[in-house]
């Protein structure tokens, strides 16, 4: 059966006045129907741009200059705007980070949800309204009838994000891309939202890409994880594998720097150095400046190695039998 999404060698570059920013420079992953993938990385790693590339919202000065994005077998990497518009909101939906900014402040909630339905289906206004109201109920919003007639600023942050998620699910898409949807919310709300999203995916069979900088968030949610650094995927695998047996020094660093109960009293591990300047990436492995396992070999950019369902991009991975 065809994978819902297959990304191979994706490269999205931004051509700016000061130089070229290789925001995404070699990303591969596949997602099967109903799977949830966590796309993890720090700011500047290229994870959001990956998401935008898939849904076709890269504007100049950015451009997808290489690679392939196959959605349900169809190549959409550089599809026409017409084709993309049909897919967006219908087969692939996106949830953004800050719901205050993503909902139009001067339009009502129902207007913004109904238009998402009407853009892709010809149904009566009444049907669309009912559908929207029901979906709001599905994401756990109380008294959805009243909320429909409200304006965005009348809802709390958590509510707004639920509305955004509901909007994404309206047309029962095959793939949802969620770009840091809980980063702007309180921790308690975060947990609820994650639960709702997971629930909806299981119910509708949609696949989900959850983009975040926080490994802890996807630990309990995703089926598999891709870790990105400086535009490239540096590690990939089933969630449990990656969390319990990380391979790439960066992933090790990420996990090591999460405070947990059994680390109390010990010094927290910190990844030294700073995130790289994307306009002036060094030669070779982008992580070498901060890597404790660095060697002269790292002047050469490491390729992806696939082993036992795991993928990593490193000359000195934490694998048994290697130092």
């Amino acid at each position: 059966m065809t994978n819902t999404l297959e990304v191979k060698g994706l490269r999205t570059h931004f051509f700016m006045r000061g130089g070229v920013v290789k925001a995404v420079d070699g990303v591969d992953f596949s997602i099967r129907k109903g799977e949830i993938m966590g796309l993890v990385g720090e700011s500047g790693s290229g994870k959001s741009i990956t998401g935008f590339s898939i849904i076709g919202l890269i504007d100049p000065p950015g451009e997808i200059i290489g690679g392939s994005i196959k959605f349900n077998g169809e190549e959409i990497a550089n599809a026409s705007e017409e084709r993309l518009q049909k897919i967006r909101g219908d087969r692939i939906a996106m949830v953004f980070q800050d719901p205050m900014m993503t909902l139009n402040p001067v339009l009502r909630i129902d207007t913004q949800m109904i238009e998402a339905i009407e853009a892709h289906r010809s149904v009566s206004k009444q049907e669309a309204w009912t559908r929207a109201r029901d979906t709001l109920g599905m994401v756990g919003i109380p008294s959805p009838d009243e909320r429909m007639r409200a304006y965005p600023h009348q809802l709390s942050g958590g509510m707004r994000q639920r509305v955004a998620i509901a909007t994404a699910f309206l047309n029962e898409p095959d793939l949802i891309i969620a770009d840091e949807p809980t980063t702007a919310l309180d921790v308690t709300i975060q947990a609820q939202i994650i639960y709702e999203a997971q629930n909806l995916c299981r119910r509708t069979g949609a696949s989900l890409i959850w983009i975040t900088h926080d490994l802890a968030v996807v630990a309990g949610l995703a089926d598999h994880i891709s870790v990105m650094y400086a535009g490239k995927v540096v590690e990939q695998g089933a969630t449990d594998d990656v969390i319990d047996r990380p391979v790439h020094p960066y992933t090790v660093g990420l996990l090591g720097s999460v405070p947990t109960a059994n680390k109390r009293g010990k010094r927290l591990y910190q990844i030294s150095g700073m995130a790289p300047n994307m306009m002036a990436l060094p030669e070779g492995c982008a992580f070498k400046e901060r890597c404790p396992r660095r060697s002269p070999e790292c002047e050469k950019t490491p390729e992806i190695t696939n082993r036992h369902g795991r993928a990593f991009r490193c000359h000195h991975p934490h694998v048994e039998g290697q130092s």
Partner: protein, 316 residues
Amino acid sequence: MIDAAQNALPEAEKQLIDTETPFQRFRSEFLESKVATAALITMVAIIILAIIAPWIVPQNPYDLAQVDVLDSRMAPGSEAFTGYTMWLGSDGAGRDLYSAILYGLRISLSVGITSGVIALLLGMVIGLAAAYAGGRTENLIMRIVDLQLSFPAALVALMLIAILGKGVDKIILALVVAQWAYYARTVRSSALVERHKEYVEAAACLGISHARIIFRHILPNCLAPLIVVGTVQTAHAISLEATLSFLGVGLPPTSPSLGVLIANGFEYMMSGRYWISVYPGLALLLTVVSINLVGDRLRDVLNPRRNTGGQARSAK
């Protein structure tokens, strides 16, 4: 010591340190626009011409001994009675228009710039005071500012002239009153932003006096928008004075600015002697438009929120 610290930085980060001073960067960005550069050159040229006017004109148009009514209403290019060429023609009283225009420029520019500078200083002080004082004082001052700003400057000036009567000093006063509110509001907005920043709190904690905080810390950060507003407002002031003079309620005929010249020539327009109004008008035009273009470009360059292609969006 600083050198040692710089040497300790990795290669990649050394590249990030600017080698240009902010002023150099500002200047090169400003000059990128050919239109603005042309405008700047024009503006400077006009100012210089105005300053050296008495030395470069063939006739002092306000020295009655040099003016002969037999020369009046001559077309551009004709020869005057006394032998020099009137390149731009002459007006109804026999004055060489070229000379009259340059003298008029002096008056227009001086009235406009004087009133602009006074209004700027006045508005700046009031705006700073309001922003710094805060609370009810600020509210009161800003209400007055808003009240005045809800009326167009032209109307305010008209009202004042209706009250005060005519005369150069009264015109300048009217222009100042019409303009100070713009400066006050601009300065107060930037000062307000600055005042809430932490460095001001820090300075206050260190016990630095209020005056020093205002002038050494807050003010420099307000300069950028002030310069922009100043340029555009000066152009408005010059334009406003010309308008008022044209209507007859501005400068008296004894200080003939460009507006007065244009008014004088209005009656001859229908009979085809267009030059008496048109050439002073063109001079006014050139002055005001060039200042506006410069101000516009300044606004683009000095705006901290501008989105150039050079800002690397944080690629996620």
